[in-house]
């Protein structure tokens, strides 16, 4: 049934309230990949607002030295919850939510391979998120020392041991993320099985949209790297509850081993977050440049090789741990190497735009900002790959600025591009271009004001995760300017929310294919029926709708 048309099997006399309950029921029991995709994204956006509030509180506290806006314990909980929420409850749900919605449509399938497993994955994620946030209000736990966790989002041992963090706060972190990890693995299994076995007629692997290749890659990565985090968390739980000594340095255990396990997960995880952003851009830039993507095969190869190489770079988070020159050198090399396929992608996108006819609708605006901001993010990443330079920059505000350039300046911008691009398909209505422009410009200015400035305190020696700092360290003005960018970003996001709410009711009707695009999702209604397509289209090239619209200039011979 369509998203907008309410289900009323009862007579009119029962009225809207009955219909609403039935609607909610439909959403709760659904196994439809499109509805689950929407639920993932909405969940991610709600947690985004919460984590954004946490960030705002931190920036206010740090705007000037010696402030007491929040207590030290509270600040430590804020940065832990902010990081954990953004990575696990915002990034992953939104990215896999889009994958959920788009992959079957893009390959000409009617749903994912395991619809009930799909629903399970979503509800488990939601439960994990609620469990983590329950700690804020209800987590008194043992010794009355429970509360939101305050161990940092990567929870280094032995700080997380019972000896140094009594009470249940850390357990909320541990168990909630363990639970969400199960859901993510389930979704990854689903996406791999779907992509490999349920493609429609004519949809060979070499004709799949790049976004589908990206989701296949990140799902494969998930299957390899998520379990190590789960294993480490099981070990931590055993340490904390059964007296094991996995990370108990007093008993000969190794604190560094936690880091190896965590970052073996943690680094590919951030590529799992970013690669779908690249996937969005690879779909959007061609449509708004009116040109085919330049070098399809290379972009696919680059995607897969990023996925593979990302498994070998993890210890660049540990350059200061004292691993020794050989290991430091190896990880410096692997980290630098991964910049090659990443750079190739940027060049392919530029080459796509070059010679095109750029239509600066909101999706393309976000993609353009992404191009500049991701370039910065990647280059500061290269700086961090140089281990000796990293010895100064790691654990400082420089690295915080770097990864926010990746996750906000790059990923979030591509997510917004994707929202503006696919909102018409999902809801049948266009988002307002005018509000979109306000959203875009406020976000660009606010983001860069905050995060370009943030590099400076790092170079001037300001470590991360400190709840305050002394006056006259030379850090005040930079922190103040950094904080000044926050209200602009808040207003930008607010404008986006307003845009969504207004457009749901009064947006222009979109029709099947408002952007004149070329992939299969645009070959059905907006929103699609529950069975996706009346008849599964036959795929003749990488751009099936281009072939239909240009029968005299088919893509096939050129591929």
């Amino acid at each position: 049934m369509s998203v907008l048309a309410p289900t009323t099997t009862s007579p009119e006399a029962a009225g809207n309230r009955r219909a609403l309950v039935e609607q909610l029921h439909d959403w709760v029991v659904t196994v439809d990949h499109k509805r689950l995709g929407i639920m993932y994204v909405v969940t991610g956006l709600v947690f985004f607002v919460i984590a954004g509030a946490e960030a705002t509180a931190m920036r206010v506290q740090l705007a000037w030295p010696g402030l007491h806006v929040v207590a030290p314990e509270t600040f430590n909980r804020l940065f832990t919850m902010h990081g954990t929420t953004m990575i696990f409850l915002v990034g992953i749900p939104i990215v896999f939510g889009f994958g959920n919605y788009l992959v079957p449509l893009m390959i000409g399938a009617r749903d994912l391979a395991f619809p009930r497993l799909n629903a399970f994955g979503f509800w488990v994620l939601l439960f994990g998120g609620l469990l983590l946030h329950f700690s804020v209000v209800g987590g008194d736990g043992l010794y009355g020392a429970g509360s939101a966790p305050a161990v940092g989002w990567f929870a280094y041992a032995p700080l997380t041991g019972r000896a140094f963090t009594p009470g249940n706060a850390t357990d909320y972190w541990n168990l909630a993320i363990l639970v969400t990890g199960v859901g993510t693995i389930a979704t990854a299994v689903n996406l791999v099985a779907t992509t490999l076995t349920m493609r429609g007629p004519g949809m060979t692997l070499g004709r799949m949209p790049i976004f589908v290749w990206v989701m296949l890659t990140v799902s494969g990565m998930t299957l390899v790297i998520l379990s190590p985090l789960s294993a480490a968390q099981i070990m931590l739980a055993l340490d904390r509850y059964l007296g094991a000594h996995f990370f108990d340095t007093q008993a000969g255990g190794s604190a560094v081993m936690w880091q190896h396990f965590f970052w073996f997960f943690g680094h590919p995880e951030v590529y799992i977050l970013m690669l779908p952003g690249f996937g969005f851009v690879s779909e959007i830039i061609p449509v708004f440049s009116r040109k085919v993507i330049f070098g399809y095969a290379t972009i696919v190869a680059a995607t897969v090789s990023i996925g593979l190489v990302s498994l070998s770079v993890w210890a660049h988070h540990m350059f200061a741990v004292g691993m020794g020159a050989p290991l430091n050198s190896f990880f410096a090399l692997s980290t630098m190497l991964i910049s090659v396929p990443t750079g190739i992608k940027i060049f392919n996108w530029l080459a796509t735009m070059y010679g095109g006819r750029l239509q600066f609708k909101t999706p393309l605006l976000f993609c353009c900002a992404f191009l500049f901001q991701f370039l910065c993010a990647g280059l500061t990443g290269v700086m961090l790959a140089v281990a000796p330079f990293d010895w100064q920059l790691t654990d400082s505000y420089f690295v915080v600025a770097h990864f926010h350039f990746v996750l906000v300046g790059s990923l979030l911008f591509t997510i917004f591009a994707a929202m503006y691009y696919w909102f018409p398909k999902v809801t049948g209505r266009m988002l307002s271009e005018r509000l979109g422009r306000w959203h875009f410009w406020l976000l660009v200015i606010g983001f860069n004001l905050t995060f370009i400035t943030m590099h400076v305190p790092g170079i001037l020696g300001m470590p991360r995760r400190i709840y305050t700092y002394q006056a006259d360290r030379g850090w005040e003005i930079w922190n103040l300017v950094t904080t000044l960018g926050v209200p602009l970003q808040l207003i930008a996001v607010l404008i986006f929310v307003v845009n969504v709410v207004l457009s749901l009711r009064r947006g222009t009707l979109a029709g099947d294919d408002p952007w004149d695009a070329w992939t299969l999702e645009w070959a059905t209604t907006s929103p699609p029926p529950s069975y996706n397509f009346d008849a599964i289209p036959v795929t003749t090239s990488r751009r099936p709708l281009w072939d239909l619209k240009h029968p005299d200039d088919l893509d096939g011979p050129h591929e």
């Binding site: 391979a113 299994v189 099985a193 490999l196 998930t222 190590p228 789960s230 294993a231 055993l238 059964l242």
Partner: protein, 195 residues
Amino acid sequence: MTSLAVAEQEAETRAWRGRVGLIGLIMAEISLFGVFVVAYLFYMGKSLNGPYPKDVLDLPVLATVCLLSSSIFVALGARALPRGDVRWAGIWLFVTALLGTIFLASTAKEWYRLIYREGLTIGTNLFGTTYYPLVGLHATHVIIGLCMLGLCCVFAWWGALRPVHGERVELVSWYWHFVDAVWVVVFTVVYVIGR
């Protein structure tokens, strides 16, 4: 295409859906076990106090023979079902489950001895810390496999198991093969290298 050919192709796709899904799950499980194996290897020889592996570990020969031979029987069972031999499928699956249960009982017996007679618990030293979770994780997977096998046996006994369920029983057998392969690794690491 005739509708029969289409139906056959869809059945084939459906079968591969399940197979690819299970392979994906197995990849995730390999990663999971891998980390516990790495921890075991890293902490080998680093315990600050005894008991040490060579003092207390005996080779679990009977358990290993039972578990590894059970792979043969589960393969026989998975092959019998699509052929139409529901009765033999049930018997082979039952034998598999029996052998798996003997394995578990043997592990339980060993753990009893280690805990109560040798004084080795998870908190005793690094050996205990890494031994119990690794072997225990494997044993947990054996239990899950036994539940699935048990269900298949019950359905066979009730007459509810049909040849058309052959794909699903095949997936159960793949899972069981995986559990056996993991045991080969655990056995080698803990009882051969580690001692």
